[in-house]
Symmetry: C3
Subunit: 358 residues, 3 copies
């Protein structure tokens, strides 16, 4: 017998300011991006076309921000959340340098909070996770917090420490990818005439299309991210679980919703921050995902007249088309069809002054 198989960490294994190196570094390639595109159907122009990306000052088509996010998240699973009872939330997610095909992603986490629950059997762990490329540049960083079981309920509680969680990523922390210059942005090629000026806070957009999730797709995506959480892969063990079947990785829903959002937000080029998100209900293979978005804020970017930011809420549902913008019921409870409530910030080109690019 052997105990060399990793069993993941328990609440006692975490302490404030602990630094964790996540295995294994991961080179993200053209092949990964191709598979990502085929699984989600993204059509945003930077991801779709090297020529489009180059015309905007990038080296070539970058890897989708969310693919980078999922890989970094996946790397953290064996250390952070293998014994998680619940993924409670994430916040302050900021995308910095673009990831390009061939870049190797390294992920680390720092424990920024620990708090035992009053039942004495579980606790909440807060980490800031950072993904860097092979040059040490930060690609993405985010806070997440999970409820983790204690190995031994009799072990002493640590000094409680809860970090401040920003409601949104501050505008001044936003980092534009590379030498971004949208002066020559080609609206006809991009596929939508709507620019930053055309969106207003409070506006709601039905993304119309729906896509049915297949087990092969969500498992291939989740393995691509090297996310090892067992609930996504093992239908045999899942028979004895609460849901009786495999649960789709929450990040899969985010990527589906983002791809659906092209229809109405085609020029929302790149997600640069995720302010927060809730996985309201689990998703299973066979469910059909729809999405709609609300513009939360329109934010000019300091010193830039070619590009602005939109803070968006994208809501994804299952088996319920979004023409009625389902979100919360009158009593404030979540609409029963809602699976995802995501608050994020995306870049969008602005209309050139003195001319109508339309």
């Amino acid at each position: 017998m052997s105990n060399k198989s990793g069993g993941g960490n328990f609440f006692e294994d975490f302490h404030l300011d602990q630094e964790i190196i996540h295995a294994t570094p991961r080179t993200i390639t053209l092949g990964d991006q191709a598979l990502y595109n085929a699984i989600y159907g993204s059509r945003f122009p930077f991801i779709s076309s090297d020529e489009f990306a180059r015309a905007a000052g990038l080296e070539r088509s970058p890897i989708d921000s969310l693919l980078t996010f999922h890989v970094v998240f996946g790397k953290s699973v064996p250390n952070i959340s293998l014994n998680a009872i619940a993924n409670l939330g994430y916040a302050d997610c900021l995308f910095k340098a673009p990831t390009y095909p061939g870049d190797t992603v390294n992920a680390t986490s720092r424990v920024i909070g620990v708090k035992q629950n009053s039942n004495g059997k579980t606790g909440t762990v807060y980490v800031r996770t950072t993904g860097r490329n092979q040059h040490g540049e930060v690609l993405v960083e985010f806070i997440r917090w999970v409820m983790v079981a204690k190995r031994d309920p009799a072990s002493p509680a640590p000094e409680p420490s809860v970090p401040e969680l920003p409601a949104k990523v501050a505008l001044e922390r936003i980092v534009l990818p590379g030498e971004l210059d949208l002066a020559g942005y080609d609206l006809a090629a991009a596929g939508s005439p709507y620019l930053w000026e055309d969106y207003t806070a409070g506006e709601r957009i039905d993304h119309i299309d729906g896509t049915t999730v297949e087990a092969a797709e969500h498992m291939m995506a989740t393995r691509m991210y090297q996310n090892t959480a067992r609930v996504h892969f093992d239908a045999h063990a899942a028979q004895a679980s609460h849901f009786g079947r495999r649960v789709v990785y929450g990040g899969h829903v985010i990527s589906i919703a983002r791809s659906l959002s092209f229809n109405g937000l085609a020029n929302a080029l790149r997600i640069i921050a995720i302010n927060g998100g809730r996985h309201v209900a689990p998703l299973f293979a066979g469910d059909t995902v729809y999405a709609w978005s609300e513009v939360l804020e329109t934010m000019p970017l300091p010193g830039r007249d070619d590009i602005g930011a939109l803070r968006l809420r994208t809501v994804a549902t299952k088996d319920h088309a979004c023409a009625d913008y389902p979100y919360k019921n009158a009593d404030g409870a979540d609409h029963p069809a809602v699976v995802l409530d995501l608050d994020y910030t995306a870049l969008m080109p602005r209309r050139p002054t003195g001319e109508d690019r339309k």
Copy 2:
């Protein structure tokens, strides 16, 4: 509320000689070709081996002609056929410059015919769609025609205009890819001793193998092509449709049939023209596709003794093996198992004069 989500064009939105730029340019990569190969199992030598392609004068393995076709077709869907009641046909499809991994495909269409139907509610739109690479070279062009709903039945009918549709792509329009030279064609490596001289008009070939279509596969392929037609993806909405389930993209059947045809047509290196095609019946996940081919014509190519062309009809069926060459019944109606009737032209090496390459 917002109407920024694209709803597609209606019959009134098309007029003769209209030029349409399709969003979004799409870089086709090694990763896309790898996924294409895994979904269809193509074994044709140019696609399979860089070395084989180089020995024939190409830069490297080109992207499969049909993958290029599907991407260009997919790009045209949001503008041309999102509100199509029926995809009526296509013709005069010609493949010109080869697409190589890393090339970016731009698609445009010109309206070459409009004709309102006698019911006053729908009309037929004819377009010539062209896919070009980043250098402006034509990769593929084809005519297709679709029946599209009118937005307002009371709107006036346009002057009817119906283009001439060639029964086949004229031989003199055929373009050989690159600096093609098959003098050194390696028959042992290619896997079949049968060359252009070995095929005769009227010959029928059972491709024997069958492949069962999975939902994950046809959806991943169709998303890879960035084809957004909802019927392929949304099982929830499809419950209320005529078929009660998702319909497989017709081009998926073409690619399956082409891959199956390796078994009997192994040296049919590259499709250079599609003369016409009919999607006789819809295909669904779970169906098993078989195929057989008939040689319609054997065509020498002017000035070339190393290569000839075969005009082929490939018929695909579902849940019916093709040893009996199912096609039409005695009354001229389609055999009930037939799903595809494709008329196309492929290149095949010729036997060197004065020696037997076998």
Copy 3:
């Protein structure tokens, strides 16, 4: 009618010392490796990270040994086993030069034994199959033997010839990939502190995780390998077969088991030999695969203090977690859950003398 579709070889078609060139050469790309990773979830560091591979003296991340194996095996199917009644076994599989993305694999086989069975209707054919890259370097070679039907039971039996089958690949034949140097091996990045010295013969390791097999996944993988055996693809024909459904390619199980084994054997960097294997029972879509391993031997490598070899038996099961190490029952019969019994040799870094890399 035509008989140009390959029907595969029968027992009479094989003779001792026959050399067979398998069609079609196959360039293995970054895209193939990405798809392989998504299907199996491999996390071994050489495959995962270009940087990790370079730090160990390799050019970049090599193609997974097993992906190369499956492609070479797949290439041999149309000539060797299309009419096989049973794949009886394989042995003496040795991986030599690493395969890198972009390499083109050519496969050949030599018949090293033929023996008609006493029933006069079938015979066993033994071949040594070799995969080489475009430079002629051997990537992998192996012996396999299959039971093949005779075309005509009345045809005379050949002189029986049965090769010697080594119980394991001799240590002196082991070839290290490239300029391998593990002096700087980064244990934190690799994800496990356990090195060659930490494993002992007889030790058993439960790999814990399970993964449920989907039809789309095993078919895409098997088509990626260009393996054309019909039983894997045709659900319609399979209805009339013994099992009533498609059978998963045996190599798919090997790759699943290998990927699961990361959990407990994370530093087993590269498979360098397969000593033998038995596919104990068939696997079907919907089955969940688990695995455990036993260390059979710990083998130092002559002249190397940075790296050693482990001979391992990895056992895969279906729908049965492996905490009880299922293998054989008291009567010596296989445990009913076992699907694979694989005996192979992998490289693992050694602990540097005079310091504790942990």
